[in-house]
Structures are given as C-alpha cells and as structure tokens.
C-alpha cells in the first residue's frame, strides 16, 4: 500500500493530465452513445422483427464461432506452444494475422477461398451443393476467422506460463500423453481458455467487415446486429442506437467477467 502511494506521488502531474485526456478520449464516445438512447421506446424498438432477428442471429452465430474457435484454437495453441518445428514463428504470425488485418480484407480473402467459385468453395458447391456466401453458416465462418486468433494467443500464453512439472510428474507416474493433457494440462489452463473463449466471443459478436463482405447482408440469415446497426443508422437511428447499447452492455459484461484474469492490478 505504502509503496503504491509513493509511486503515485512521483508521477509528474503533466503525465496525469495527458493520461486524463487519453482516458476521456476513450470514454466520451461511449457516454455520447448512452446519452442518445431513447430509453422510453427502447423496449418496443428492440422487439421489432429487424432487431429481434439481428440479435438472435448475433447470439447464434457468435456462439457457434466461439465453439469452432475452441475446437480449432486449442490444438493450434498447443502446437505453437509445445512443438518445435521450422517456421514456427511464421506460422504464429499467420495465425495471428486476422487480428490486425482489416476485416473487410479478410472477407474478400474468404470469398476467393470459400465463395461459390473460390479455391475450395467451388468444390463445396459442385460436389456437395454447399454455398457459404449469403448463408448463416457463412456468417459463422467469417466470425470464426476473426475470433480464432484471440483464442489461440490467450491459450498459448497460458500453456507457456504453466508449471510443466505437474505434467512431468503425471507422466512419471505412468499417465499416457492424452491422459496428461486431459487430467493435468487442460484443468491448469482452464482460466486462460475461458478468458480466450470470452474474448473470441466478444470479437465474433462485434464482427462486421468480414461478415458483410463474405456472407452479405441478408435479413434473418446473415444480418447480425452490427450489420443491422450500419443499415439502420440511415433510416431508424434510434433503433440503431438501441442495438448498439445492447452490444455495449454485452462487451462490458465480458470485461467484468475477465477482470480478475486480466485487469486486476496488484
């Protein structure tokens, strides 16, 4: 306690001022949004068919995307953290690329890969009659693409920071590798896995660019909440703001859930 007080006193107050300006810069847009919420009509606004179908789609797609991110992300993280192979750092960079890539670019890439005439998409279409574009599955694919790296980076960090002696001990006692993974490693990284899944879910929920580019903007099929907000800003801004605030509330809830993992200070 006393040491923290001392460091606070040593911080130049000019820095505090700049920090305050930066803080306000981050918070003011949220305040602006919340002040615009038409609270009295919010209930009726959010129960219109456009709003309910967008919210329902957002929930369904983001949960599927999170499940797929866990399914593929945990093995990827495992390989990146534990297996030495040439080009590992390049592989990691490629896995993390969707985090920094403009999502619209990701959507265009998905189209050329999985669209009806895409690299792989043409076979999906010709052989199995599967078309991902303009389908809810396509929206899930786009969300998974942007959400997966968040899960990988979080789980990989957990795997690297865990104490491996527990695994060694279990192996010494005769446990098979799969048993070690299931009974020792997974429970140890579970908090990291939950945090990664929550981040991936929040990212999938907010996904816009890749979804509208790859899956299109079809009401009831691919028009998730962010897409609906974008179009409704033209015609019914009050509904767009209502939906934005629902997303904002969900994101705050996710951060609150994660506070002990990532945001606790000392």
């Amino acid at each position: 306690m006393s040491s923290r007080k001392r460091s606070a006193r040593r911080l130049p107050w000019a820095w505090m001022l700049v920090a305050l300006i930066g803080f306000l810069f981050l918070v003011l847009p949220l305040v602006g949004l919340v002040l615009q919420v038409p609270w009295s009509s919010l209930g009726t606004d959010l129960s219109t068919p456009e709003a309910t179908s967008a919210l329902r789609l957002s929930l369904v797609c983001s949960l599927w995307a999170t499940a797929l991110a866990v399914l593929f992300g945990v093995p990827i993280a495992w390989v990146l953290a534990r297996v030495e192979f040439p080009g590992r750092s390049i592989a990691r960079a490629l896995v993390l690329l969707p985090m920094v890539l403009p999502p619209v670019v990701g959507g265009v890439g998905l189209f050329y890969a999985l669209g009806r005439d895409g690299l792989v998409g043409r076979y999906l279409h010709d052989w199995f009659d599967i078309q991902l574009t303009f389908s809810t599955t396509g929206a899930v694919v786009a969300e998974t693409f942007v959400a997966l790296p968040f899960l990988v980076i979080t789980v990989e960090a957990a795997l690297r920071s865990m104490d491996r002696r527990y695994e060694d001990a279990a192996a010494t006692l005769g446990a098979k590798p799969f048993t070690v993974a299931r009974r020792v490693t997974l429970p140890l990284i579970l908090p990291g896995l939950i945090a990664g899944a929550a981040l991936a879910w929040a990212r999938a929920l907010g996904e816009f660019g890749a979804t509208i580019t790859f899956a299109g903007n079809v009401q009831g099929r691919t028009q998730t909440t962010p897409l609906a907000v974008y179009l409704l800003l033209e015609s019914r801004p009050e509904l767009a703001i209502g939906l934005s605030v629902v997303l904002l509330a969900v994101c705050i809830a996710v951060l609150a859930l994660l506070r002990d993992r990532w945001f606790a200070v000392g």
Partner: protein, 256 residues
Amino acid sequence: MIQVVFMLGLVGALVMTSCGSNSSQPSSTVTGTITVSAASSLTEAFAKIGRNFETANPGASVTFNFGPSSTLKTQIVQGAPADVFASADVENMHELHIAGLLHGRSTVFAKNRLVLVTKPGNPQQVETLNDLANVGTISLCGRDVPCGRYAAQAFRAAGVAIAETRITRGADAKATLAAVTTGDADAAIVYATDAEAAGSSVATVRLPDARNVTAVYPIAALQGSARPALALRFIRYVESPQGEATLRSFGFLPPR
C-alpha cells in the same frame, strides 16, 4: 514545468491545425479549399470534374466526401463542415432546405437510370425484372438509401416481389454492385453509371423505359460554408458545358 508548457503547446497546435483550414481569406476570393459532400454514385465523375475545376481555378482545391446521400445529409444536419451537397435524390436535399441549411436554392444537374447487372456473360439469362424471381441472391441498396428506394419503385412498377431472404443489402450503390463483382450475388440493381464504371466485370441489362425510374441529382451550396463564392463557382462549373460533358462521359443523363 518545461514539460507542461510543451504538452500544452502540443495540444494547442493540434487544435489550431484542425481549425486552421477555414480561417483567414476573405470570402470573395476563389482560392482556398472547399469540401463537396456527394452521393457515392458520383465518385468517378466528380473526381474528374474536381481535377478539371482545380486546373481551371489555380489556387482553388476541392476535397470530396462520398457516401450514401442520406448519411451525407445526416452529417450536414449534425454540423459536419461541407460547402456543397450533391444528392442522388430530391428528398434528402429537400430535408436540408426545410432545415434552412441551404445557401440559395438547389438545382438539378444530372439524371441517372437504373440498370440490372449480372455476372459477366449473364449466365442465368436475366432479361427483365420478372426473371429475377428465378435467380439466387439479388443485391439491392438499403431500403432507405436512394438507390434502394428507386429499385423498390421499379419492382412495384413491374409487379415483381422478391423474398427478403434472397436480398442482400448494400449501404450504397457501390457496395451493392460489389456483391456481384466481388461476391456471389447473381444480380444487382444499381445506377447505369455504376455499371458503366464496373466495365467488363458485370453484364448490364437495360430496363425498359416504361418500367424504369429516373434518379434526379440536385446540387446546392450550404449555409455553413466558409467559402460561399468558391462553392457557387464549383456548382456553376458542374453545370457548365464542360461539367455536363464529363458527367455524360460517365453515363449520366442531362438534367433536362
């Protein structure tokens, strides 16, 4: 202390540069910079007109803000700095007129028509709006964007109804067209000028005149302009024979 002065100076400098562009210069001169908020269907034509205008008026420069007319109108209502507004419909211009935000009156400077575009070669042989009933996914502009409203009018005139689950909606004509050029949409309804700009990446099907809808493009100077003289000069240039020729070369129709 020196640190503090430096920081405050930095903040001050940032504030100054962001406001500096529209100070000094008496409004009677035609030098300086104006911002033109224009419907996204005007992107290519206005970019060229802007370059020609700058060549004809040394010392003047034009920056453009392209987007859906309804978004541009909202930006202007909320105080976004703009000197000229060119809309793809009369309604959005009229709302600014009602709000008292126009400097003078608006004039119609161009017209546009709707066309149907498909993948190159028109593989599904779409010839009329009725044929769209049998085609996979159709890309239309948002319901409240001008090109979306015009498309709805054309469908009503043709007596064709398309299920909403087969419609993907773009925020403006460019995004709507992109769903065909860089997407799996089988057809789109956009402006003739957008189809022209897309060249061979789409096949264009003209709609019969009786079923077509004419988009009307009004232009006006804005009340909030810091350079009304330059704004008016730009509008006069758009309406001049040179401006009209440029617009026509991009597929626009003359206003009369």
